[in-house]
């Protein structure tokens, strides 16, 4: 099994290197006097960051002429594994603490990870809210068609956490593999309610209605970020982390439904 992963990681690394290699000049490229050509900064980020980070990437490129930001959006676990196995990345944004620990534990981080956003669960219901859901208590209603994430995936783990903290037992009709599957069932009107992240409700626009509930604070999802010491453009990686943490970055994240870093 390790050998398999090594081969895969090598392939990924080779690919990233070939992408980076042709564009990157020696470390001095950050200086304004660097010759023409582009510098590429590579950011590995949790899939949930796709919208916000793409926006911030444009901002970064605007303020850093000659620099291109390349993103690798995937599940945090996949990304952490790739980094540990030698993938060339300059910054890593994880959707949970466990996967960040994987990277820091391997001694690959440059400095301490920074918390940059939080995410909480929210109840998604069809726009007409047929079951009349008003809050967490209503989710235990008899006959309610509630759809949640499976405990094995992060949003499901968060759901279980809230259940334990509030000493409630939900009886969902389905435990989906992904947030998008939960949303789809609510959007189709098959489910009366679904538990997803606030950002997901935000992204779904008016196809679903979001109902916030206080109990969601029991399972706050912490998104943290770190620049990577061995990254070909580690300095730029650090600058991108700074951008995310800046007022401008936080504004973009808040607009997408993320909570402020605690």
């Amino acid at each position: 099994m390790p050998t398999k992963f090594t081969v895969l990681a090598a392939a990924v690394a080779a690919l990233s290197l070939s992408l980076v290699g042709c564009a990157s000049t020696p470390a001095a490229s950050t200086s304004a006097s660097a010759p023409a050509g582009t510098t590429t900064v590579t950011v590995f980020a949790a899939a949930s960051m796709k919208g916000t980070f793409t926006t911030l990437g444009k901002t970064f490129e605007a303020s850093h002429p000659g620099t291109t930001v390349v993103f690798n959006f995937a599940g945090s676990q996949t990304l952490a594994e790739q980094i540990v196995n030698g993938a060339a990345a300059d910054a890593f944004a994880s959707a949970n603490e466990a996967n960040m620990t994987t990277v820091t534990g391997a001694g690959l981080a440059s400095g301490q990870p920074k918390l940059y956003a939080t995410n909480q669960l929210e109840i998604a219901v069809p726009p007409d809210n047929p079951a009349g859901i008003t809050g967490w208590k209503d989710l235990t209603k008899k006959g309610l068609k509630l759809v949640v994430c499976a405990p094995a995936v992060p949003c499901g783990a968060a759901t279980v956490k809230v259940e334990q903290a509030t000493n409630t037992t939900l009886s969902p009709v389905s435990e989906e593999q992904a947030v998008t599957d939960v949303l789809a069932k609510v959007q189709a009107g098959e489910a009366d309610a679904g538990l997803v992240y606030k950002t997901d409700v935000q992204a779904a626009g008016n196809t679903v209605k979001g109902i916030e509930f206080d109990e969601s604070a029991k399972a706050t999802n912490n998104n943290s970020m770190v620049a990577l010491a061995k990254g070909p453009q580690a300095a730029l990686g650090l600058q991108f982390v700074d951008l995310v943490l800046s007022a401008e970055g936080q504004k973009v994240l808040a607009a997408a439904g993320f909570g402020p870093a605690a």
Binding site: A152, Q177, D181, A191
Partner: protein
């Protein structure tokens, strides 16, 4: 043994390059399966496939696949007979439509089923009146599996019916057998080997069904989470379990294929 040696003596008359291509084709199928067994953690294999969730998924998969195979036979045999024996306007169109799930991505099938049998689907209100709720139930799984497996039965059985031909049925009719009697006493016995292999094919397809199920039926242990859904879920948290379960599915599929081949061989004799 004797047959093998006879086959060995027969001149195949194929060019060499054909064997090279054929070998690549075979490898394309064999290699991934081999790779799967390499990745398997044999020391935990038994523990992994006998975990509560695995057993529940396997049990549910077998039950729903058997159920959908039965439904496929009940609906598909008449459909195949009508398509093979009668001639009517729109027949070619009907055949194409019935076979559509063969080429359709299963997810599309799931969405279509949702808009038909879902709460807000075409038949939703009518079923509400009857007090039937299909979504998120095991029935939804069976429905999804039947949807994708039915064409296998129909297309395979229609071929058998055409091969067997209409003539025995006409003879039976002139001997005084009513149409119903002809179906039970002549047509079905004649196509039985073909029907059996068609049913096994449908069973195999139902067993592997994933896309339509996850879209239409949801995923809940013991109710709607069949083996493929369990594998997909485990892949995230416990890849070893996913691999072990995949192997179980492969073994079941191999057994099914071998059984089909045997039946077909017997029917050909």
């Amino acid at each position: 043994m004797g047959r093998g040696s006879v086959m060995g003596r027969t001149y195949a008359g194929l060019p060499r390059w054909l064997y090279v291509s054929a070998a690549f084709g075979a490898l394309l199928v064999i290699l991934p399966l081999f790779a799967l067994t390499l990745r398997l953690d044999w020391s935990r294999f038994f523990e992994l496939i006998t975990s509560e969730s695995s057993v529940a998924a396997l049990q549910l998969s077998l039950q729903t696949s058997v159920a959908s195979t039965v439904v496929c036979v009940l609906l598909g045999v008449p459909l195949a007979m009508v398509l093979a024996r009668d001639r009517f306007a729109g027949q070619a169109l009907l055949r194409s439509v019935v076979l559509l799930p063969l080429v359709l991505p299963p997810v599309v099938g799931g969405i279509a089923l949702l808009y038909t049998f879902g709460r807000r689907g075409l038949l939703g209100p009518a079923m509400d009146v009857l007090g039937v709720q299909i979504a998120f139930s095991t029935i939804a799984v069976v429905l999804a599996q039947t949807f994708v497996a039915l064409p296998f039965l129909v297309v395979s059985l229609e071929g058998t019916l055409r091969t067997v031909g209409h003539r025995y049925e006409l003879v039976a009719a002139t001997l005084g057998a009513r149409p119903g009697t002809v179906v039970w006493r002549v047509t079905l016995p004649l196509v039985m080997p073909g029907l059996a292999s068609a049913a096994v094919l449908s069973f195999a397809r139902a067993l592997g069904e994933f896309g339509a199920t996850i879209t239409f039926a949801g995923s809940l242990q013991g109710v709607t989470r069949t083996l493929p859904l369990e594998i997909y879920l485990q892949r995230v948290t416990d890849p070893d379990a996913a691999i072990a379960l995949s192997l179980v599915l492969v073994v079941v599929a191999v057994v099914v294929t071998v059984v089909t081949a045997r039946i077909a061989e017997r029917g050909a004799r």
